[in-house]
């Protein structure tokens, strides 16, 4: 399938899934499930950071206008995108990345995915809840929200890959 078409469809699907499904799941304690960072993470490794930032901005924007969060998701997604190349470099294998392969859990292996995506998602969640709370004397509360939300978001991101991303055919 044409790559641009594939990613455009994914873009719309991610916004709708976040706005119509995940935003409606309220588990209490301020826990929020977020899946959209996965979209940015799965974009090709050699995509220019300039394009990534612009895509991230519009993705966050689309989610924000659906959830009355006024720029909260946009800001945290920009942080996520900005840190992505740094973390990819940090955790890269000896011979770098194959630019043809998508960085999903099947291609890169469980351990790599948990380490890289996990730490990026942690930064994203931390920034998100810090901005949402907007005061530092509630740092404990911010951490609780982050620590409770992070594994659940992560689990959903893995689940989505098992459901919708094509597994590489065994050679």
């Amino acid at each position: 399938m044409n790559d641009i078409l594939k990613y455009s469809l994914r873009f719309i699907a991610v916004i709708l899934a976040q706005a119509l499904v995940l935003n409606q799941i309220e588990l209490g304690q301020g826990v929020q499930l977020m899946i959209y960072p996965l979209f940015i993470f799965l974009l090709p490794v050699d995509t220019s950071i300039i394009y990534l930032l612009i895509i991230a901005f519009f993705l966050g924007f689309g989610i924000d206008i659906f959830s009355n969060t006024y720029g909260l998701h946009t800001s945290s997604l920009l942080i996520f995108t900005m840190l992505r190349p740094t973390f990819l470099r940090l955790f890269s294998s000896r011979d770098g990345y194959d630019s043809m392969l998508e960085t999903n859990i099947f291609n890169m292996g469980n351990f790599w995915f948990i380490r890289t995506f996990g730490s990026l998602l942690f930064m994203h969640h931390l920034w998100f809840f810090m901005l949402e709370e907007f005061k530092f004397n509630d740092i404990g509360y911010i951490l609780i929200k982050t620590i409770l939300s992070l594994p659940l978001s992560f689990l959903i991101c893995i689940l989505v890959q098992y459901l919708f991303v094509n597994k590489p055919s065994s050679k």
């Binding site: 991230a56 009355n68 720029g71 946009t74 800001s75």
Partner: protein, 277 residues
């Protein structure tokens, strides 16, 4: 000039990041307090219609509970109708009441999107400026107050619910008339805070908290909640009162918007008084 272009080329990623992040943060910090346009929220017609479709699919999930609430309200209203009263004396004629005049009108609306566990919670309803809704009007359900209209478009509105940091609605203890302000800072959608009550007054547990009126947004005496706990704030002579909300924000479906017919008159005379000082 060449240096400047080289500088921009060198730092273009950081600059773009700072620019986009700046837009997002400006949007966040300005809109949370004072929304200026409806287009970037769920009050906009596109987002509103998408959420309406979703609501038409999911509204049945809490139908039985909402039916019960509506039924209870119907019974209450039936009690006030003439056919529920027995005629005690024949020959009395009804004349037009000149002592009482209608001050508040209510517009019904259906909740199509709502949150209750975020730091600031908003509710989208399917009624907008075409039905006469304006920013700043109060909203309540049959159980108690819900919030204040925050943002309006022709067919949809966004309510700032009681579950936001600063709603600043005046409330009071029904029995003693001690007044304070409504606040909320917890993750729990069931409990709220009442601030500004001085601790030389006695408070009964399970005392009812109602709206104070006064600002012209809510009529006096709409239920807000029931006192749950109270403790002294350290170093201040104020009570910190925790109460249970009368409304269950987690299953809110039908709300009413309050239109105060005498609000203009009240505003006018208040402005006149301030001008004279």
């Amino acid at each position: 000039m060449r240096n400047f272009i080289a500088f921009i080329r060198h730092f273009r990623v950081i600059l773009l990041f700072a620019l986009l992040q700046g837009i997002a943060l400006t949007w966040y910090t300005t809109f949370v307090q004072f929304p200026r346009s409806q287009y970037l929220t769920t009050a906009s017609s596109i987002q509103g219609s998408v959420l309406s479709v979703r609501n038409s699919l999911t509204k049945h999930f809490s139908l039985s509970e909402n039916n019960k609430i509506l039924q209870a309200e119907n019974i209450l209203l039936h009690k006030t109708l003439p056919h529920s009263f027995i005629k005690l004396e024949n020959g009395l004629t009804k004349i037009n009441d000149t002592l009482h005049r209608l001050q508040y009108e209510y517009t019904p609306a259906v909740v199509i999107n709502s949150t209750y566990s975020k730091a600031n919670n908003y509710i989208t309803i399917n009624t907008g400026s075409k039905q006469g809704i304006k920013r700043g009007m109060g909203v309540f359900s049959s159980e108690g107050i819900v919030g204040v209209i925050h943002n309006v478009s022709p067919h949809f509105s966004v309510i700032k619910s009681c579950l936001t940091e600063k709603l600043n609605t005046a409330i009071m203890l029904e029995e003693t008339g001690q007044d304070g302000f409504l606040a909320w800072n917890g993750p729990d959608a069931r409990t709220g805070l009442m601030t500004g009550v001085s601790n030389d007054s006695k408070i009964k547990e399970k005392a009812r908290i109602v709206t104070r009126g006064g600002a012209g947004i809510f009529p006096r005496g709409l239920p807000v909640g029931i006192v749950d706990k109270y403790e002294v704030i350290e170093g201040e002579s104020l009570w910190n009162i925790t109460f249970k909300f009368a409304v269950d924000f987690r299953s809110l479906q039908n709300v009413y918007i309050i239109k105060n017919l005498l609000l203009d008159e009240q505003k006018k005379i208040e402005a006149l008084t301030e001008g004279n000082e």
